[in-house]
């Protein structure tokens, strides 16, 4: 049965206007070739024959181009969003070329309020819009064919970018129909395909970017090459907030290829003919900093500061029942404090940006999650009007929230503006680790009350930590509550008769920002570990206890049901088994971990993940995101942390900020729940579940709780 829906903002005139304002779209950037055309990596586009909307252009020669307005950073969004368009357009993925979209209001991600990628929002945001864009185009193609042949539209069917008449003899390709379609009125409503007619959505499709990535042909930010381009590094003061008081550039200037050394907003720039000269100059530069503040910043002192916030009064984010009274009346009350440290993003591609600022315009080639904000910053720095600032989003060598920031954009635009030449700024790995916007350090005090049967009746949780939104979006802080800092803690699905959640803001000088899973990544550690502590105190099985607390939530019970068989299986000798439940980005995940202790170190051996992310678009890519989230989470659970002494980050590279290695990869089994609900986000959901699942497994194995990350035996 068809599902007619009204279009929203998809009139051709409006969309064409927007595209024209943004600089024409098709003339911008390089085209990402897909399977249809992988033999060339860049090509100027011919003028399009027909652009029915901001995402699709059809060419007379049959080419179909789609504009991708979200950043491909490994999460598979290029393929997933193309599948949404192609499903309704009735075109094969092999018939489509993809190019990065320019900045334009039509590409706004409504879940983030700007044209940006992150937080598991892309598929959710595009689910209706992109399918409608595809369907509208398909309807125009059918209308054009019907008019050409003088037959009713009901006798025409579209398949693989071709409209066929029911007589089985006549057919016309979309390219042949484009000119006629351009003269037709835009349909006032679109009809989306019924789920039973889908051929792409819900099937595992090969990622469109993989052929490029196995040939070393995918172009990341550092692979941008512009004529006359210079390379630059920037030496920053290691102490947070310090200013440069002097520098000795003599040795740096002696490096062959170094052109100039001078002060910029964020430090001392070394400008050179080559990347290597810029890096070598950076290494030889001596800078003196005037650390007026923050010289005493040290992890131990930051921890003490946060500890103060565990006591005294704090704003209440959520109150149900009367926790204090219920705790006083409980048969047993327990309390625990959990700690999560600062964490870096450590994207494999170090931060970078390439800018070409000219008097008449500016081109910025950058691996960014935030192209609209990139354009705004460049506007502010150059004074150029936005329509003359073109942002070209490259492939991202990892994002994880780090590439929502603009510091690296600032570096490149400032330098190119000053030098009048294209400049590529490259950060060293040490720059990247030492000048991040970290996942914040947090402390959590939890109190729980059990009745005489071991059933939890009261739940108290106080989150103490700096506010991420204080810098990024202070208007969203209400009554002292930063909603990002209570992610997951506020929406805890368990039914407690009495519950209170508090957030005590404790800002520190450390720059903090978005990080895969955001607040979930520390809150789920505290809440899911404490639940297991309550289970243990009450003599209850952790899965059974969760089932009883989720009795009114069939969606969560369904997850646990699918995990029950794995949970009930005998635990192999030497292993501990734990579980955790996370709800984030419109999805739910139950994760089972099996861990061992080998040679004094924790070893995660196996995970079973049960995911309900609504309608799955590309199942294999969803499984890849579960694997990815687990690996990202395991690094934060078992490896290092960002620590401070004398006002500076102590870690400088992968030696002291290690990542999970190949031989430490656990087995991962993913179970996807069938669902007709709209898609939920996937990239952020597995990461927060890992630390509690592993800690709970260790609690089961060793009989003692692990309340501090990263876990140390």
């Amino acid at each position: 049965m068809a599902d007619p829906r009204a279009t929203t903002g998809l009139t051709r005139r409006d969309l064409l206007k927007i595209v024209a304002l943004s600089g024409g779209g098709l003339a911008l950037g390089w085209v990402w070739p897909t399977r249809a055309e992988t033999s060339e990596t860049s090509a100027a586009s011919a003028p399009s024959e027909f652009e029915p909307n901001a995402w699709i252009s059809l060419h007379a020669d049959g080419r179909i181009q789609l504009r991708l307005a979200r950043a491909e950073m490994g999460q598979g969004v290029m393929t997933a969003l193309t599948m949404l368009l192609a499903e309704e357009l009735e075109a094969g993925l092999d018939q489509i070329r993809i190019e990065p979209a320019p900045v334009a209001p039509v590409y706004t991600n409504h879940l983030l309020g700007e044209q940006a990628t992150g937080g598991g929002t892309s598929t959710r945001d595009g689910w209706e819009t992109l399918r409608e864009a595809g369907a509208l185009t398909r309807m125009l193609m059918i209308a054009a064919a019907a008019r050409t042949w003088g037959v009713p539209e009901s006798e025409c069917r579209a398949h693989r970018a071709r409209v066929r008449h029911a007589d089985g003899e006549r057919s016309l390709g979309y390219g042949e129909l484009a000119a006629t379609a351009a003269s037709l009125p835009v349909p006032t409503s679109v009809v989306l395909k019924d789920k039973s007619d889908w051929t792409l959505i819900g099937t595992s499709q090969r990622r469109l970017d993989t052929p490029l990535k196995v040939r070393g042909a995918a172009r990341f930010g550092l692979d941008v090459r512009l004529p006359g381009m210079l390379h630059a590094t920037i030496a920053r003061c290691p102490v947070i907030g310090a200013e440069i008081s002097g520098w000795n550039a003599q040795a740096a200037r002696e490096v062959p290829g170094v052109i100039d050394v001078f002060a910029v907003r964020h430090g001392i720039a070394v400008v050179a003919e080559t990347s290597w000269a810029a890096l070598a100059g950076h290494a030889r530069l001596e800078i003196d900093c005037r650390p007026r503040v923050n010289t005493a910043v040290a992890t131990e002192r930051l921890r003490s500061r946060l500890h103060i916030g565990l006591n005294g009064r704090a704003p209440v984010a959520l109150r149900e029942g009367d926790v204090s009274r219920a705790l006083a009346a409980a048969a047993l009350e327990i309390e625990s404090v959990y700690e999560a440290p600062f964490q870096a993003h450590a994207c494999m591609e170090p931060m970078n940006c390439t800018a070409d600022v000219r008097p008449d315009g500016c081109d910025i080639h950058v691996p960014t999650q935030s192209p609209a904000a990139t354009q705004e910053l460049a506007q502010r720095l150059t004074g150029l009007p936005p329509e003359r600032i073109r942002v070209h989003t490259t492939f991202l060598g990892g994002g994880h929230g780090r590439r929502r920031e603009l510091d690296f954009v600032h570096d490149a635009v400032e330098l190119s503006h000053r030098l009048g030449r294209p400049v590529q700024v490259i950060w060293t790995r040490a720059d990247d680790l030492q000048h991040d916007y970290y996942r914040p350090m947090t402390l959590h005090r939890l109190r729980g009350g059990l009745d005489a049967t071991g059933e939890p009746v009261a739940w108290f949780h106080r989150v103490v930590g700096p506010s991420v939104l204080a810098r990024r979006d202070p208007g969203r802080i209400r009554d002292g509550i930063d909603p990002l800092m209570i992610d997951g803690a506020a929406s805890l699905p368990y039914g407690f008769a009495h519950r209170r959640l508090e957030y005590r803001r404790a800002d520190t000088p450390v720059p903090i920002g978005l990080w895969r899973g955001d607040g979930h990544s520390h809150n789920a550690f505290a809440t899911e570990c404490f639940l297991d502590e309550l289970a243990r105190a009450g003599g209850r099985d952790p899965l059974a206890l969760r089932r009883s607390l989720l009795a009114d939530s069939p969606a969560h019970l369904a997850l646990l049901d699918r995990l029950a068989e794995h949970w009930a299986a005998p635990v192999p000798d030497g292993l501990g088994r734990g579980l955790a439940l996370v709800e984030a980005a419109g999805s739910r995940l139950a994760l089972l971990a099996e861990v061992a202790v080998e040679e004094g170190r924790v070893r995660a051996r196996r995970f079973v993940a049960v995911l309900d992310c609504g309608q799955v678009v590309n199942p294999d890519a969803v499984r890849a995101q579960i694997e990815s989230g687990i690996v990202f989470g395991l690094t934060a659970t078992l490896k290092g942390a960002i620590t401070f002494s004398d006002g500076r980050v102590e870690q400088t590279g992968f030696g002291d900020y290690p990542l999970l290695r190949f031989d430490e990869m656990p087995e991962v089994e993913s179970i996807l729940i069938d669902s007709d609900a709209p898609p939920g986000g996937v990239s952020p959901i597995a990461t927060p579940a890992v630390a509690p699942a592993v800690a709970n497994a260790l609690l089961a194995l060793l009989g003692r709780p692990f309340r501090t990350l990263p876990i140390r035996l």
Binding site: G74, W276, M348, G397, F654, L660
Partner: protein, 154 residues
Amino acid sequence: MIHFTLNGEPQALALDPATPLLWVLRDHLGLIGTKYGCGEGACGACVVRLDGEPVKSCSTPLSAVEGRSVQTIEGLSPDGRHPLQLAWVLEEAPQCGYCQSGQIMTAAALLAQHPRPTDAQIDAAMSGVLCRCGSYARIRRAIHRAATPEVQGG
């Protein structure tokens, strides 16, 4: 002048012999498939093959390749259809993809030494190349797949 063979072609370069091979490739030869990840040999994103062996090109000076043979991701196959590349596609190994050139070149060296590698041999060979996206399990499957004759036929 440093003479060496690059992806089967002779090269003669008059560059500072201390220049790391990574930057010779990226800055001077336009071979940008080999990636910069850390510059200190700790991540493996820059692995290329030197006389068949995997080396971290960020820590290999140009002088070390004199008279030797260098292979980069661009030279692994003429058409992107090396058994490893085919297997990588079939297993959907890459995510962000930034480390994958290093992963594939490391695996190519492994297969040259052990055409049918065991899991232990794969662990030993691959654990020096970091992936933040967690593609390790798929890479393992892809290596095993590439080591089987049916995929080698293409």
